[in-house]
Symmetry: C2
Subunit: 245 residues, 2 copies
């Protein structure tokens, strides 16, 4: 399983991913699910992935090959807005899935689907995050709901529903994303560290802060402990029922 | 959808259920999912339900008919421990599902499954909560994880993973269950009020406190607001990254 999320703030974007992959509970590995592409200097393209690992790797490799191909009609360097890049990634995603569709002689139950979260900015266009479905179509975050999630999304959603607003500063947004990730890692063993974080200021066209937080990371441990202690304090101060002594 | 949960504390048990049923988004109703059976005075039997509404109603009706039948070999009044009651309910649940299994001429996609959460105590036996699966088998809570959930369980789980311990008093446990329910109602529209709460002291063989909290309930609104304000305060006080100014 996987948990990745992105927030689109007025100040920029924040992207966070876990790194655990599990073909089954006895086949667990660590793979980065965050890829920051080296692109033309007028743009930023960061891609988070969830789903079939063969599909996500094949999509990434195709994107890289297209970048190296001067004859490529479309690639990450020449498309002129972020939605066009999302559509292009979506098409490659569909194509890769079709290539590995199981034949009639093969076992069912195989699922080649992959979902992506694209964060970036092209030229003077707006910075944005886009969720690219296995079908190749995509959606943007909204101002009212300034976050998108892929993978094991439910455990980490309530805190985002409560606290995610577009006016958070980038540090706050990165902390909120880590709190959401922490909830997912505690409730689902198949979501695990290292946790990667990319923080990108609007207009900078680069990843301004990149963190890779391992299991024993001091900041992450402190954050989780302070959050837990704080929750407990708030909980203990909640109003009592009238039937309590 | 549905969200029901139970906590087993040293002090007793707490059961909480939502009341929204949805055959589809344009077919939403309000049904109580908490049933407190009138039983012999040496016992307490409360049943929460999730899944197919026809199945859960049929199971409840069969339990009631068996209670009224003096010749019934087994019913809620004569079984001598809570696990036996869970097994008996599980068998009825299986039988009811078999009765409504779709024929070959019928559309697929129909799911008669139901899941139950049984809370209670029989005689001098321990008070307990048991989760009864559609297959008829069941599990108990553990001391390390003193809660069980049915229905839409994920949104409300992180806060239980953080704060649920067997030494909570009954008021605290009921508040924690409501915070968990609040998270589920905010994140999933198909979980909704009124929220029913049953609080049962160990050994009392009765529901000592029963609450039905509607949409406009003052206590629930206050709890949700104080919880949200508290979360925000804790969040804003979390340690900053070293790259923040």
């Amino acid at each position: 399983m996987t948990y990745c999320l992105g927030l689109r703030l007025e100040a920029g974007i924040v992207l966070v991913s876990d790194s655990r992959t599990s073909a089954s509970v006895d086949d667990i590995s660590v793979y980065s699910k965050m890829h920051h592409f080296t692109t033309a200097p007028d743009r930023l393209v960061v891609l988070l992935s969830a789903g079939n690992l063969a599909t996500t790797q094949a999509v990434r490799n195709q994107l890289l090959r297209d970048q190296e191909n001067p004859a490529a009609e479309r690639n990450l360097d020449n498309l002129d807005h972020l939605e066009a890049i999302a559509g292009y990634i979506g098409e490659i995603n569909r194509q890769v899935q079709q290539n590995s569709a199981p034949g009639p002689e093969q076992a069912s139950g195989f699922n080649p689907e992959a979902t992506f979260l694209l964060g970036g900015q092209v030229g003077d266009g707006p910075h944005d995050i886009l969720l690219i479905y296995p079908q190749g179509n995509y959606i943007a975050a909204s101002r009212q709901k300034p976050f998108l999630q892929i993978g094991e999304t439910k455990y980490g959603k309530p805190i985002l529903d409560r606290l995610a607003t577009a006016d958070l500063d980038l540090g706050q947004a990165a902390r909120l994303a880590l709190v959401s990730m922490d909830a997912s890692m505690r409730s689902n063993l198949s979501v695990g560290p290292p946790v990667e974080v990319a923080v990108c200021r609007a207009g900078s066209h680069q990843v301004d802060q990149r963190m890779k937080l391992y299991d024993d990371d001091e900041y992450l441990a402190g954050l989780s402990a302070e959050w837990g202690d704080g929750l407990r304090s708030v909980f203990l101060a909640l109003p009592r029922f009238d039937w309590e002594s």
